[in-house]
Amino acid sequence: MSRPLHHVLLVDDNTDDNYFHARSIKKSGRAVTVSTCRDGEEALACLESDTDQAIPDLIFLDINMPKMNGWEFIEAFANLEPACRDTVVVVMLSTSPNPADRERAGRTDIVSEFIDKPLRTETFTRIADTYFGGGDDD
């Protein structure tokens, strides 16, 4: 069950949120690398590049973003080579007050969870525990 969590990718156009979330993640001591993309396009480019380091283990995905929003990213993500996506856990991290968004997230296999901003250390730790095993194994 336990597997390493090296790389977390934050996909959000709000740099303040990215900063806060990256801090919460680092504070947990569970991830080696936290990188950020400002929209779906950037995140997709990151996944499609061949370098292994580029492929994150965990993606936190916002919904409302310019260029390619969260939903569009998920569609594109589903069409990627399995090698690029099989190991990736996608968590929606949003503020959408629209209940329809939450329902929509529930209908797709790709999204593992839908959580509200802001992401705090405790929440991240729980997610890391859930999908990547207890911190003690790492």
């Binding site: 709000n14 303040d16 949120d17 806060f20 801090r23 503020t95 007050p97 209940p99 901003k117 802001p118």
Partner: protein, 741 residues
């Protein structure tokens, strides 16, 4: 005078009761024999000449039956009268005596047969004249032109010096609407005559007899001789007699005008006396019976044509009014504050009815004035006056000076107005104005002096004469306008209805648009507000963490307060969002309220445990409604019930439901602090808070959302509360559907 009415003396006050139908004399142009209708051999009255013509011996007249003496033409007429015929339905019978041929004309009135004997003059007009008259009337469809055509042609045919078409006003006075005359005579066209010039008895007799001729006012009357045994108070009614003697008042009236002979022909419209043809001659003139009959028939033709022309004119006006109405309605615009405006075709307002001007009065705009109205500053005041009258839907007056004295000004020519309130939300009026109708009426002589006491006769009695002054006299006293007729009132009602309909449509669509805009705006605003708010909250948190050890107690308090404020604001924004969201169209469905409330109670588990609250839920009937909204509503109501309790009190909440044939009711009762009656209205308002945040937290939106939810399902939300004891919130809904089986 005493010869005409032995039992009646004219005074200044009884002219309208003069028994002109039963003078005891006849005109000097013929002879009369009156017989008892029940026994036609019995003579009731006669004039001297009649006995000569008939060869009846005077000595036997009261003692013997005269049947045997009556010549054939008279017997024939009596037979026909007995069979129910009238003077109009029978042709006159010729009777020759002493080389003169008389027309014998029979009529029946009361219990008497009256036989008139008149010289059978050759007819002056023929049937072809009547046909020609009719054809001429059909050459125009304008009433004014019709009057002139009729007057001209009648004068041409009959040869009178003057023929007038005289119309009665509803108030009884009359005016000359058409005239044909000898060139040298002064025109009477357009003159008005007081009602007393043709007293009521004269109108009644004329309408019955239809045609009336006075051959020569200077010709002495012939007295009638009555049976010596005539009972007191029995009179001979000469209404239908061609030869009835004329009221001495009328004789003097004509003499004052210099008129020596007249013929008067009634004009009846719709069973009422519309007016008359007045034919005047300045010498003696005696049109024969045939001529008078044909003239009477021509009057019938005129009446028919007049009604046709009037109907056509009404129809033309109606069409024009309808056209103006469409233009007007089409030109109506409303601005953002519901103020009605008239675009391009505002002038159509004056074309809607016969008026001299019109105006649109609005609350926040200068009045629009078209044509002749009050001065603009008075128009503003008029709206105030209407408001003081209780803002009537329709207000009419043809006499502003009397009915709306505050609005009256002698400076304007306006005499009456019709106002229609054409707004339910504001107080906009359409007002039509009419000038004072008789500001420039020209009376033929001073109508205030219909009669003068000008002589004392031999017996010492006062003698009355009609006024002798026929000098034109201008009446400047009258302030009234033409009365507003039913068709105009109908028009005003219809216009009002149509404008109100437009207003309602406008209101509904504007409200919808505003609601949509508002919902969009609050959704977007609250959504976009959340993000910066969260950022502020996040950095405050980071600051608190990073500074941790270095913060003193006061500084830490500042940061905590700032953090609390951002959280509260976030709650507000969320509630605003919910409030806007409640209006969203969501599908109606069957909602299991028992399960819904059970879910809420479960979600509130932490609070219940913390406060030691008890919640009793009774049987809750299901309802057809909007599930998500109901969830919000009941969550808010139950949360409130748990929250607003006095310190140290364990909350106790009961949720119950019931339904009858028409309604479904849910009640949420608590043992909380309650609400003072004066505050009940506040709690349902947006951001309506009764408490400081330090006492009870909350945005103040909760109950506003609840009310919106309930009303969005066409229900009502009410509260009954006793401060210190608790409150009961009652949601009542109509039963809209039966539960599906």
């Amino acid at each position: 005078m005493s010869q005409l009415y032995p039992d009646f003396t004219l005074t200044r006050d009884n002219c309208d009761r003069e028994p002109i139908h039963r003078p005891e004399a006849i005109q000097g142009t013929g002879h009369v024999l009156a017989l008892d209708a029940a026994d036609p051999g019995r003579v009731l009255a006669y004039s001297d000449g009649a006995l000569d013509i008939l060869g009846i011996p005077a000595d036997a007249i009261w003692t013997q039956g005269v049947t045997a003496h009556l010549p054939e033409p008279c017997r024939l007429i009596i037979e026909r009268l007995e069979a129910g015929e009238t003077n109009e339905s029978m042709a006159p019978q010729p009777l020759t005596h002493g080389g003169i041929t008389y027309d014998t004309i029979g009529s029946c009135r009361g219990s008497a047969y009256v036989l008139d004997f008149e010289d059978a003059d050759p007819p002056e007009i023929e049937t072809s004249d009547a046909l020609r008259f009719d054809a001429l009337l059909r050459s125009t469809d304008d009433p004014e032109a019709l009057y002139d055509v009729a007057a001209q042609e009648l004068r041409r045919q009959l040869g009178f010096d003057r023929v007038m078409v005289y119309q009665f006003d509803p108030d009884g006075h009359g005016f000359v609407v058409g005239e044909a005359k000898r060139d040298d005579l002064e025109p009477f066209l357009g003159l008005h005559y007081p009602a007393t010039d043709i007293p009521q008895p004269a109108r009644v007799v004329l309408q019955a007899a239809r045609v009336r001729s006075i051959a020569d006012i200077h010709l002495p009357n012939r007295p009638l001789h009555f049976r010596p045994d005539r009972p007191d108070g029995e009179h001979l009614d000469l209404t239908y007699s061609q030869l009835r003697a004329t009221s001495p008042i009328h004789i003097e009236y004509l003499a004052n005008m210099g008129v020596q002979a007249t013929m008067t022909i009634a004009i009846e419209v719709g069973g009422a006396l519309w007016g008359l043809f007045a034919c005047h001659h300045y010498g003696p003139k005696n049109p024969g019976y045939h001529t008078r009959r044909l003239a009477g028939m021509e009057s019938l033709l005129f009446s028919l044509r007049l009604q046709e022309v009037q109907a056509a004119k009404v129809e033309r006006n109606r069409l024009a009014s309808r056209e103006a109405e469409e233009k007007l309605i089409g030109s109506i615009r409303f601005d953002d504050i519901h103020q009605l405006d008239l675009a391009s075709h505002g002038s159509a307002l004056v074309e809607l009815c016969a008026c001299d001007g019109a105006a649109v009065l609005s609350a926040d705009k200068p009045p629009i004035a078209l044509g002749e109205t009050f001065p603009v500053e008075q128009l503003g005041a008029l709206r105030q006056h209407l408001a003081e009258l209780g803002a009537p839907k329709i207000f009419t007056t043809d006499h502003i000076a009397a009915d709306l004295p505050a609005a009256f000004s002698a400076d304007t020519e306006i005499g009456g107005l019709l106002a229609a309130r054409v707004s339910e939300v504001g107080s906009t009026y359409f007002v039509w104005f009419r000038r004072r109708q008789r500001q420039a009426i020209t009376w033929a002589g001073d109508p205030r002096l219909p009669h003068v006491v000008d002589r004392i006769d031999e017996s010492g009695a006062q003698r009355l004469s009609p006024r002798q002054s026929f000098a034109k006299w201008q009446d400047a006293i009258e302030d009234r306008c033409l009365p507003w007729t039913d068709d105009v009132l109908d028009m005003a009602q219809r216009i009002r209805g149509r404008v109100l309909q437009r207003e309602a449509t406008f209101t509904a669509t504007t409200m919808q648009r505003h609601n949509d805009d508002l919902r969009q705006m609050s959704y977007a605003a609250s959504h976009d507000l959340r993000e910066p708010l969260r950022t502020v909250g996040n950095y405050l948190e980071l600051l608190t963490e990073d500074l941790d050890e270095r913060l003193d107690d006061e500084q830490r308090h500042f940061l905590e307060r700032a953090g609390a404020a951002t959280r509260r604001m976030r709650g507000l924004v969320d509630d605003l969002l919910t409030y806007a969201d409640v209006q969203r169209e969501v599908a109606w469905e069957w909602v299991d309220m028992a399960a819904l409330v059970a879910g809420i109670v479960e979600d509130l588990g932490d609070v219940i445990q913390r406060t030691g609250a008890t919640i009793d839920v009774g049987t809750l009937p299901p309802i057809f409604g909007k599930r998500t909204n109901l969830e919000r509503c009941f969550l808010n109501l139950i949360t409130n019930a748990l929250k607003y309790v006095a310190d140290g009190v364990q909350p106790h909440v009961t949720v119950t439901g019931e339904q009858d044939a028409d309604t479904i009711t849910y009640r949420i009762t608590d043992n909380g602090i309650g609400i003072a009656p004066e505050n009940v209205a506040k709690i349902f308002a947006i951001f309506g808070r009764l408490h400081h945040h330090s006492e009870y937290t909350g945005s103040g939106m909760g109950l506003a959302i609840c009310k919106r939810v309930v009303e969005g399902m066409h229900g009502t939300l009410e509260v009954a509360s006793e401060p210190g004891r608790g409150s009961t919130f009652t949601c009542r809904f109509e039963r809209r559907m039966e539960l599906p089986t």
